[in-house]
């Protein structure tokens, strides 16, 4: 019945371009930029400073991409994040001088939750298409921002937000070493416990690779352990979201709801709750991003983050998230974000003329996505042929019984 030779082992699947394509694309992009940059005699592209810059520049969009991925997994769509963030930032800065940081941040987050809730109700309860609902809230919420700011940019005097969101935090090298070792150890323990050591060890590559990465950073680029607060927040949220999606009932149900809402509903899952929850969560996190964004300059203006929603969705889709729901991996969306920002960072570092940046960016975007779509298909085709050739291994006993 089973043809074991024909089956790809788990690690092969995990490493296939189809699954890890965005990682390869990111590595390829970094390699190209590093080589070009050193060929031009510029300082190392992979310097701590430059890498930190990329991370810092990506952090806020990265956070948005994480929760956009959650919404997309749940089978919905949210265009309103950038406007929501702008609203939250505006509210926070408007209130912070008069009412203190706590009230300001709370109010901002409440605004985000409210927008999320409105989206959720209109989409799930009234049944309007998510695209049109969130396009509507995108517009309306931006209008509210414009009405509040009346064409002016505002700056707060209370620097609490500024200090927080431009602050840096350094992970002690010792802690990093411990984390790195722990990750690798975990991978080994898991592999040993399961028996099939070699295979499991390869399958657990994200684990030990992350461990190695942490060790490498701690050893060779300790400066990278000193990052801006938003970067740590992004890393933390990506970790938490990944763990929840992967290892909890909530995560499992979310994928089910997005994959086949009807099957999920008949399996006893409260579909509305999950889909609405994703919207509200997205609104709240958009608000957090808005507050961090406003804090970065302690100032907002009415056009803040305009058009950011497309970047966020692009990052998620580049990370392989399906627009039809039911699939997506938040870490890959974060890597998708990193690709986008590495690209524009590369333009700056290589000083590519701004007229050509869009041409290159668009091409790289499509090329990255094509590359791993195409390879994963070729992969399959190749694979198919190989198996076909060795197929008729066992000559089958055909019982003919042609009578008459």
């Amino acid at each position: 019945m089973t043809n074991p030779a024909a089956k790809a082992p788990a690690w092969r699947k995990a490493l296939a371009p189809r699954a890890a394509g965005v990682v390869y694309a990111f590595i390829a992009l970094l390699a190209v930029l590093t080589i070009t940059s050193s060929a031009q005699g510029r300082p190392s592209y992979l310097s701590s400073v430059n890498l930190s810059n990329i991370l810092e520049q990506s952090a806020l969009i990265g956070i948005l991409a994480i929760f956009m991925t959650v919404v997309l997994i749940s089978g919905n769509f949210d265009l309103s994040v950038a406007s929501t963030a702008a609203l939250a930032g505006t509210v926070a800065l408007k209130l912070i001088d008069g009412n203190g940081t706590f009230v300001a941040v709370l109010a901002a987050i409440a605004c985000g939750a409210l927008v999320g809730l409105v989206n959720a109700l209109l989409v799930q309860k009234v049944g309007v298409n998510a695209f049109i609902v969130t396009l509507g809230t995108l517009t309306a919420v931006r209008g509210v921002v414009q009405a509040i700011l009346d064409g002016k940019s505002i700056t707060a005097h209370n620097t609490a937000l500024l200090d927080f969101s431009t602050g840096r935090w350094e992970l002690p090298v010792a802690v990093a070493l411990v984390i790195g070792v722990a990750l690798i150890a975990l991978a080994v323990v898991l592999a040993v416990r399961s028996g099939a050591v070699r295979e499991k060890l390869v399958a657990a590559w994200p684990l030990w690779l992350a461990g190695l990465l942490v060790l490498a950073i701690a050893g060779f680029r300790p400066n990278l352990l000193d990052q801006a607060v938003p970067v740590w927040i992004m890393i933390g949220l990506a970790l938490v979201a990944s763990l929840v999606l992967r290892f909890t009932v909530i995560g499992r149900n979310l994928y089910a709801v997005g994959g086949n809402a009807e099957a999920a509903r008949l399996s006893g899952i409260n579909v509305d709750r999950y889909k609405m929850g994703a919207f509200v969560l997205n609104g709240v996190l958009a608000a957090v991003v808005g507050v961090l964004y406003a804090g970065r300059f302690n100032s907002v203006d009415p056009t803040v983050l305009t058009g950011g929603e497309l970047t966020v969705i692009a990052a998620a889709v580049l990370g392989g998230t399906s627009l039809f729901g039911g699939s997506g991996v938040v870490v890959k969306s974060v890597i998708g974000t990193l690709i986008l920002f590495t690209l524009s960072n590369g333009f700056n570092v290589l000083n590519i003329g701004s007229n050509y940046q869009n041409v290159v960016q668009g091409t790289v975007l499509v090329a990255a996505a094509s590359l791993y779509t195409a390879t994963s298909q070729r992969d399959r085709a190749l694979f198919r042929k190989r198996v076909a050739r060795k197929a008729p291994a066992e000559p089958a006993p055909v019982l003919t019984k042609t009578g008459a």
Partner: protein, 517 residues
């Protein structure tokens, strides 16, 4: 391999065909088969034997990995269904690919070439003629997405016949049909065969196969294990060929008459939903297996959906384990209900998910640490158990359900509810597309569930199966409950007669045919 009596050249000659799917599944391992013109050629075998794969290859929907197919004597090079269709082959696929957002009319004439103009009036006339000829009325304006699964099956059949093909490939066309539609289909097949059309017919119903076909090919694990004229075989031989060494006692055991029934766990009073059914009232006790019989569209599916809380428009009262009518599936599950829906692809499983994740979906919290963190090992253990219990044919429990054969996917949907806390089972066509061996396994399982104190409500169009496995049979007709029969005291004929509106309790269907109403 097989000689051609009378020297009639085969219309279709399948020569040593292999098929390896991209997942590595070797579905066909050298199948050869000759189909003579003007015959009904049966293709049977257990779930996952490769029947649908062969049908898809013949229709151009899949390509062979090795081997060749000769059509009317010349080797074909079909790479897409359009070429096979142009050469006169039309298929009814097991998963009925129709366009839900289009009307019946559009679907029936989908892909017809010829004139550029879409002549609606002409097509409407043609549809009416076709319906007349087949003897099954369909409203061309209905959206296919709104149809019940049985009606969709008929649309798919009409779609194939509308092309006037020389060879029709029918992949389990009767799995979703009730007896009267089956008869309609058989009559059409026989009539067309007599005018020279050839059929390849896949089914799990051996009686049908023996009745309808002229020649039989039995597949097992991608190999031909029997190839013979129907007249030279019998049911026993076929069963041996299909299930091979697996000895299955699938003669329906007589229902255990003296089984102690428990309390009423499901009390239904004046339940109604729109035009679909009702109002109707009945009780089900713990340990009882109740069948719901009825024709296509009699409202059985809607009844189960309403009991399950999935139909918000339903009115009336339902008491489940002493509590009120569930207001949604979530509540229904919490009150111990389980539903195996009839439309498995749309409502039953996630095609992209592995077997084990599909099976654990309804009672994931139970398999989780602190009801929150799923325990993969336990989930997988349960899935392995299900693969054994139900004989799901798969390479591993990591296979995607979308890649399974139809019957095996059905088993997965059934397995979802077997290991949880469910005490009231609502089963809508649980054995649709399931092979003979597995069907008896499932029926045994149902009886075991009942013996453990579960209440089971089965909807199936297999009245024989109902009588064989139920304690009691409710008959629905046009949404109304027209009979409540003890299965020990009734027979297929009576149930059929009542369901179709002839006769009542005590009538012999061949005798007086009195309408009830």
């Amino acid at each position: 391999m097989s000689s051609d009596p009378g020297g009639i050249p085969p219309i279709l000659d399948v020569r040593d065909v292999h098929k390896v799917y991209r997942t590595g599944t070797h579905a066909l391992r050298g199948v050869s088969m000759r189909v003579r013109p003007g015959t009904v050629h049966g293709l049977i075998g257990a779930n996952g034997a490769g029947k649908s794969t062969l049908i898809k290859i013949l229709s151009g929907a899949q390509t062979v990995s090795d081997g060749e197919i000769a059509w009317r004597g010349s080797v074909t090079e079909w790479t897409s269904p359009s070429q096979a269709l142009a050469d006169g082959l039309a298929a009814v696929y097991q998963h009925m690919p129709l366009v839900p957002s289009l009307s019946v009319l559009d679907n029936v004439f989908l892909g017809h070439t010829g004139s550029l103009r879409w002549d609606r009036a002409r097509r409407t006339r043609e549809l009416a003629e076709l319906c007349d000829r087949v003897g099954y009325p369909l409203d061309g304006d209905d959206l296919v997405g709104d149809l019940s699964i049985g009606a969709r099956q008929m649309v798919a059949i009409l779609q194939a016949l509308a092309r006037g093909p020389a060879l029709v490939l029918l992949d389990e066309p009767t799995a979703a049909l009730s007896p009267s539609e089956r008869e309609i289909l058989f009559a059409s097949v026989r009539r067309l065969r007599d005018t020279g059309t050839t059929f390849i017919y896949v089914s799990h119903f051996l009686d049908e196969v023996l009745d309808l076909t002229d020649h039989l090919t039995v597949l097992r694990d991608g190999l031909v294990v029997l190839d013979a004229p129907t007249a030279s075989t019998d049911e026993a031989a076929l069963i041996t060929a299909i299930v091979g060494s697996r000895l299955a006692a699938f003669e329906a055991e007589a229902p255990v008459a003296a089984r102690s029934l428990g309390e009423v766990v499901l009390a239904v009073e004046d339940l109604a939903s729109g035009t679909a059914f009702g109002p109707l009232s009945f009780d089900v006790r713990a340990g009882e297996v109740v069948g719901v019989a009825g024709l296509l569209g009699s409202g059985r599916t809607e009844l189960l959906q309403a009991l399950y809380g999935a139909d918000r428009a339903a009115t009336g009262s339902v008491t489940v384990n002493g509590r009120g009518r569930p207001r949604g599936p979530q509540q229904a599950v919490r009150r111990g209900m389980a539903l195996v829906p009839e439309d498995r692809a749309r409502q039953g499983f996630l095609a992209d998910w592995e077997i084990w994740r599909n099976i654990s979906l309804p009672d994931l919290p139970r398999l989780s640490w602190r009801r929150m963190f799923p325990h993969a090992a336990r989930e997988r253990e349960q899935a392995r158990q299900a693969v054994d219990d139900l004989g799901i044919k798969t390479q591993t429990i990591d296979s995607k359900v979308g890649d399974l054969s139809g019957g095996n996917a059905q088993k997965v949907v059934f397995a979802k509810w077997l290991y949880g806390n469910a005490s009231i089972f609502l089963l809508d066509e649980p054995t649709a597309g399931v092979d003979v061996g597995a069907k008896s396994d499932i029926l045994h399982l149902i009886r075991r569930l009942a013996a453990r104190g579960a209440a089971v409500l089965i909807v199936t169009s297999e009245f024989e199966e109902l009588i064989g496995s139920c304690d009691r049979i409710l008959v629905l007709r046009r949404g109304a409950l027209v009979a409540d029969l003890a299965s020990a005291e009734t027979d297929v004929h009576e149930v059929t007669a009542i369901a179709s509106g002839f006769g009542s309790h005590g009538d012999h269907p061949l005798g007086r045919k009195a309408a009830v109403s």
